[in-house]
Symmetry: C2
Subunit: 545 residues, 2 copies
């Protein structure tokens, strides 16, 4: 492919939230940026996570020169194990990002992983990658300046412009300006908050609110947030110290992330401020803060179990003050509301986004997105990281900033953007199936499996086993009827009688096993619906004996 063409291929994260992954390809050299997971939508029943379709890179595995990770969130690192199954290439990540990759994905320990830092320049011919600091809801995130044979590309990473970040890491204006001064061919920029006007408030904005809540709290303070939100955790620790409270960490992923972040110096906390869970009873409630998972109402998370009195020593009680410091991710609203209601029922004071600003986003709003575009003044613009409407809004902002319509490409996962001396164009698509992880290992999406689960979820199943005499077709013994998720109390008797009639009627008309099965299928489905008004999955099993 020595055709002087750069190919930019998003394998995830464009037209969807999550499984972020981008491929840059030039002259048989491939650079991969991020490899994340996506959480399944509510109607993808039984699916654990969704990952990118790696077919394109698996077919060119030996051309992959490097995998660059912008930051340590699951939607950027979570699919690495599946990618590394068949791609042997060095990974480059900052210290904390590397730590999170290693703690979350211990199986990767054998992998060729390198620590980079902002300011570094990494040569991956024909590419060179420069890293610069960005503010985000996790420390140690980077944006990328990528020199390619056709020009300079900037990848924003996940970013906001936080002028007073809790962890001290600002988005590096100077480096962005410097990249801009070199002339940028293409900007790929984070679209998550493209619907939000104005600026995203600084993480520091929460300081006053948290202080006010802590000052008024008579009992324990319990703060639920994302386990990866290291800055938020730091802020709660700092506030606790100010108000004379010791801090306990609750929830497996919170404990893991906290440990690695502290070990690497990204969380600063004195030993004596930390409170082991088993010493909780020895400390007065008003000297205790708990930081826990469960901000999304996840059924097995710490906050939910504490609210359902299923967490031994740390159950929620009257007098507790609870802060849910996160927004519900779309699809989780019902879980979050249910959790809030349970906490109120237990008599806790509960603060959450609906009634008080106890969370700020980690992503740039419209004015910040425009600022980045204006500083870089790229020739071409591609909005990344967002559902389709976010990409559309971001593209409108780019137009407002003076980028001509024809130089803006609203593309989706799987689209191929080519850039060469002639210009840029969308040139076809690569394989872009949703790949599911459901039990052991990844599967190509199987619509039949998901469709069957949808039908089972609605009305369960009815399996009828019929033994028929191989000479006379007479029914041998009683038919065996197996149902699950189908019948309510009191419906069995009438249904069984009806099914029995249908079976005898069908057998009496004779036929091969296949004939009988087919006719039984139809007559049992009809009977089940007539008796119950529901349509279970019906499977007749006919055995001739």
């Amino acid at each position: 492919m020595s055709d002087g063409t750069l190919r930019i291929i998003p394998l995830g994260g464009l037209g969807e939230i999550g499984r972020n992954m981008l491929v840059l390809e030039y002259d048989e050299a491939i650079l991969i940026i991020d490899a994340g997971i996506m959480f399944p939508e509510n109607d993808m029943l039984g699916v654990d996570v969704v990952i990118p379709d790696f077919s394109y890179v698996f077919e060119r595995a030996d051309q992959v020169k490097a995998i660059i990770i912008t930051h340590g969130h699951e939607d950027h690192i979570g699919a690495l194990p599946y990618l590394l199954d068949r791609v042997q290439a060095p990974i480059y990540a900052t210290r904390l990002t590397r730590g999170l990759i290693e703690v979350k994905l211990p199986a990767l320990k054998e992998v060729d992983i390198h620590t980079i830092k902002a300011g570094d320049r990494l040569e991956v011919p024909p590419f060179a990658v420069e890293f610069y600091n960005v503010s985000h809801s996790i420390p140690d995130g980077v944006g990328l300046g990528i020199t390619t044979p056709v020009g300079l590309i900037v990848h924003s990473g996940d970013f906001k412009f936080d002028h007073s970040p809790v962890n001290g890491q600002r988005t590096d204006f100077a480096k962005i300006a410097e990249l801009g001064s070199r002339g940028v061919l293409l900007l790929l920029s984070d679209s998550t908050n493209a619907e939000k006007p104005g600026y995203t408030p600084s993480e520091r904005y929460l300081e006053e609110t948290l202080g006010r809540i802590f000052a008024g709290a008579q009992g324990r303070v319990i703060v639920a947030t994302f386990a990866s939100n290291i800055s938020r955790i730091q802020q709660v620790i700092d506030t606790s110290e100010r108000y004379g409270r010791r801090v306990a960490i609750v929830g497996r992923s919170m404990v893991n992330n906290f440990r690695i972040a502290r070990q690497l110096g990204y969380v600063r906390v004195a030993d004596e401020l930390l409170l082991p869970l088993n010493q909780l009873r020895d400390v007065p409630d008003r000297e205790v803060t708990l930081i826990c998972t469960g901000s999304q109402g996840e059924p097995t998370s710490a906050l939910v179990r504490m609210g359902e009195r299923g967490y031994h020593s740390v159950n929620v009680k009257a007098g507790d003050t609870i802060i849910v410091s996160a927004n519900p991710i779309p699809g989780n609203e019902e879980y979050v509301n249910r959790t809030l209601d349970n906490l109120f029922r237990l008599g806790a004071d509960v603060y959450y986004d609906e009634i008080l600003d106890v969370h700020v986003s980690g992503h740039a709003s419209q004015e910040e997105q425009k600022l980045l575009i204006s500083m870089l003044r790229p020739r071409y613009f591609v909005p990344i990281h967002g559902e389709y409407r976010h990409l559309v809004w971001h593209s409108k902002l780019a137009r407002e900033c003076g980028i001509p319509q024809e130089n803006i490409f609203v593309i989706e996962t799987g689209d191929v953007l080519e850039i060469d001396q002639e210009g840029a164009r969308v040139a076809g698509r690569v394989a872009d199936h949703l790949v599911l992880v459901d039990g052991h290992g990844p599967k190509a999406v199987a619509h039949n499996v998901l469709e069957e689960r949808t039908n089972l979820a609605r009305s369960g199943f009815l399996v009828v086993v019929v033994l028929a005499d191989k000479y006379t077709n007479a029914l041998v013994g009683e038919p065996q009827i197996v149902t699950r998720g189908f019948l309510y109390e009191g419906e069995e008797v009438a249904l069984e009688a009806r099914l029995r009639e249908e079976i005898e009627e069908t057998l009496s008309r004779g036929g091969t096993r296949a004939d009988l099965t087919k006719r039984l299928q139809a007559s049992l489905e009809r009977a089940a619906y007539a008796e119950t008004g529901r349509r279970p999955i019906v499977v007749p099993v006919v055995i001739k004996v």
Copy 2:
């Protein structure tokens, strides 16, 4: 029960959103207020709707003197058919409410239903009910002043204080003040928006926004809203007339509601302004408005089908301007977002709540809730219509308004509040199961059915039919393996071999049919998990031949 005690028993809508129903009982006389449905939560798989547990009134059916309906929304009228199954009592409703009951529930035509209007006084000894106008997102809603032997009770209905309503129906301040001047024993008031500070804007507030969007629209304008939001429909019709557009109505429930509301004079529109769908092609796009269902992204609704190009003549196309004039109900966000993305993909301009105020709520916000409390100055206060946290916030407002803590009762569906000369108290609970409608007729909630569906939704099922020789226990023929929603492509062969081994091993150890079934259950479950990492519902069927 001639004990001088009034019993107030909510059978739905307290601690949950929907299935609103309240029972007032005194001296063997029962008054029912509303009988609505609730939409199932996302994890109530396969359930159509949830209705109140009627056990308490069914056991006292002959004591029910009247059923009063406050307005025509599904969460206030939808459960009537199930209630009337076993309760013969006259229904009282305003004209539009009656019309909607009759159009939505045609089977009720035979029922004893009476039209009342604001200002009427209805004697239902020992009660007397006075009706007063309230503003809400549907016309003809009423609040109730109920004189009882122990004192005057006010039921707010669903209300807001809209000083410039589109349909001209204001909440009747004068009547509320008059009720207040008589001395109110108990106020039962709508808590839906108790988390929202300030005032809910007037419906009229949308006029300017709609006008601006219509003025800029080059092609068709498509407005999706709730079929019951008659005022919104009127406003879109008025705006269309002003901008020279004719109006087509799309979607079954929208067409039904529009027809009955127009017939009864609650929607005003000239014949020539209406555009039959089959004439759509004859009118230039910029002279057309479509009003349709689908504001919640419901998969079978008009807007969704139009956005998936499944609606013949009225598919969405580039140049269309679409207004989604409703907020997503919690649990529907994913559907709504998916619908918005599809509309953007088709090149439409889309306006929705996230980016522009194109919807106002029909419920009172905190300042209006406080205003009602202050005008009525009730001795006792019970927040109704809301999830638990809404009830808690509303109770805080009541305290701010000077009602003593001990006179405020945060009760939930099924709780019994008693009031007599001595005062008010919570006195036990009545049956309060979630009653599901799933196929033919209502069922008491069956946790096993829902649990089985949850498991089936996650990993499907595996039924194995084994014929064993009744003397030797030797396997007869091949085991029949039936799976649905369980296996992905390529997994069958290895699994079948493994299952076959397990079956032979189990049979070789002999035993009764029950023994074999039990041991097979365990060994097949283990094998299925070992092979796939998933846990389907496993059912072995052993037949001795």
